[in-house]
């Protein structure tokens, strides 16, 4: 019996070893509920800037790619369990995530911002300025402080397991009541319903909602936020062991950036160039 197990283990090892080096077929995990990054259209097909980008990168790597939709809160564990080989899902590169997975170089960067109903008293706080949480100077500290005092005692909504949730927990802490949603859409629904006073999300996806019929009465407040808990841009998430795939993807991103297609994907879906 012991020999049987040894044989079994060695067979499994050979199989996985041969699999690890062979990247002619790559499975990519995405959320499919975060337009315009990665959404799902009426026909149930995945679409968005990152879907185009993923297909583009795959062509550059000469790989056959399959896209898999996975709920956001399980997206990292599913990568680790081998359900797919890469995450391309608007995931910000943060030090916390770097502890468990590797990231490719960043391919896009979009600031985060709070948004409120236009009819809300909070809407009096102007949407202006930029705050880099890694390099706070006098101006940006003042912007941050006025944001904090505006939101004091309010109910703030975020999508769960995101950098936005981390920001609210770390920077605003107990001064606000935080509500976590499973998807960006449900967060938007509750913002329009008035169940939350403000929502924190990345600007691009909220702008997508604002351009729809239901999002007409939403507006941004306060500064655009980046750095610190928001991490340094959006990259592809990979298992720590797959360093060869990491090199391939980084090279493909370099190429896409060099010939301008990287920027094109984002201009097409966001109406502006947020590539980096």
């Amino acid at each position: 019996m012991k020999r049987f197990y040894l044989t079994l283990i060695s067979v499994l090892l050979t199989v996985s070893a041969s699999y690890a080096g062979d990247w002619s077929k790559i499975k990519i995990g995405t959320e499919g509920a975060y337009p315009p990054w990665n959404g799902t259209n009426a026909a149930g097909e995945l679409e968005g800037a990152e879907i185009d980008l993923a297909m583009d990168l795959c062509a550059r790597m000469n790989a056959e790619c399959e896209l898999v939709a996975q709920d956001w809160d399980g997206i990292i564990p599913a990568l680790q369990n081998g359900k797919y080989d890469a995450i391309i899902a608007g995931m910000s590169i943060t030090s916390e995530r770097m502890e468990v997975i590797n990231f490719s170089q960043g391919y896009a960067n979009e600031p985060a911002s709070f948004s409120v109903l236009k009819s809300s008293p909070l809407a009096s706080l102007q949407s202006a300025g930029k705050v880099n949480m890694d390099a706070l100077d006098n101006t940006s500290s003042a912007l941050l402080d006025s944001l904090k005092s505006t939101l004091d005692g309010k109910v703030v909504g975020v999508q769960g397991s995101t950098t936005h949730e981390n920001f609210v927990k770390q920077v605003l802490g107990d001064s606000v009541t935080m509500k976590s949603y499973d998807t960006q859409q449900n967060l938007e629904l509750d913002l329009t319903a008035g169940r939350i006073d403000a929502a924190l999300s990345d600007k691009g996806s909220m702008e997508e909602f604002m351009s729809s019929d239901n999002g007409q009465n939403i507006t941004f407040i306060g500064p655009g936020l980046g750095g610190g808990p928001f991490g340094g841009g959006v990259g592809a998430g990979l298992r720590k062991a797959d360093t060869d795939l990491l090199e391939m993807i980084n090279k493909a991103i370099d190429e896409a950036r060099a010939d301008g297609t990287l920027a094109e994907h984002f201009i097409k879906w966001f109406g502006k160039d947020i590539s980096m």
Partner: protein, 229 residues
């Protein structure tokens, strides 16, 4: 398997069990009271009352609880009329929306369980009660309902256990019950296996206690089945 993480998370999850137990007890209590009424409607000879009860049970038993929770929480909030009315005080809170969905759902199932119980009361017992000149109300209070409850108890115990598990669905509408907190911790630790095992153990404990309570009630309600010493 990271046992340390499991042990560290346990107190946090236990904090969530407070909400879970609240949701279960409140919705089971109100749901049960409503279910008695609904079961009586279902047994009534009046066509319209009967039809109402049948339709209610059909819809609430025939659609997933998750869909009901979403419709009550996100659906109702779509109507400006509701948002501007007094009812919004109730519907604004995820907690009450959760309780409402769970209550309406368990009411449908429980009413069928109670109906089955009432219909299983032997007609001879009803007849003999009538022959002593009991009023309809007294007949229900003294004879029919006690026997019906005894018959329905095992099935109702099942419903209670299902309800404990069903409460985990309200974590999707921002309520921080055991599952909600588990998801929050997983977001930080990226270890779903350890955290969900810990959460599962808490649900198991709650259900173990309920199972024992039901067995105890069954034992007490069926003295004629016990062996005399």
């Amino acid at each position: 398997m990271n046992y340390e993480l499991m042990i560290d998370t346990f107190p946090k999850l236990l904090g969530g069990s407070y909400i879970t137990i609240q949701l279960v007890t409140i919705s089971l209590f109100i749901g049960f009271c409503l279910a008695i009424g609904l079961a009586l409607l279902r047994l009534s000879n009046n066509y319209f009352l009967n039809f109402f009860a049948k339709t209610y049970v059909f819809y609430f038993r025939g659609t997933p609880l998750l869909v009901q929770i979403f419709l009550i929480y996100y659906g109702i909030a779509q109507f400006e009329v509701v948002r501007e009315s007094l009812a919004w005080i109730f519907f604004k809170e995820a907690y009450w929306c959760g309780i409402l969905a769970l209550t309406l759902n368990t009411c449908a199932y429980s009413s069928e369980i109670i109906r089955g119980g009432i219909q299983s009361v032997p007609f001879g017992q009803i007849e003999s009660a009538r022959s002593t000149g009991m009023s309809r109300f007294l007949l229900y209070r003294r004879i029919i309902l006690p026997i019906a409850f005894r018959q329905a108890l095992p099935a109702y115990g099942n419903e209670m256990i299902l309800m404990v598990k069903a409460t985990s669905l309200v974590s999707t509408i921002t309520i921080m019950d055991i599952t909600g907190i588990a998801r929050l911790v997983i977001a930080k630790t990226f270890s779903p296996v350890e955290i969900f095992i810990a959460a599962g153990l808490i649900y198991l404990t709650i259900n173990f206690i309920i199972t024992r309570l039901i067995s105890y009630c069954e034992f007490k309600l069926t003295p004629y089945l016990q062996k005399s010493e």
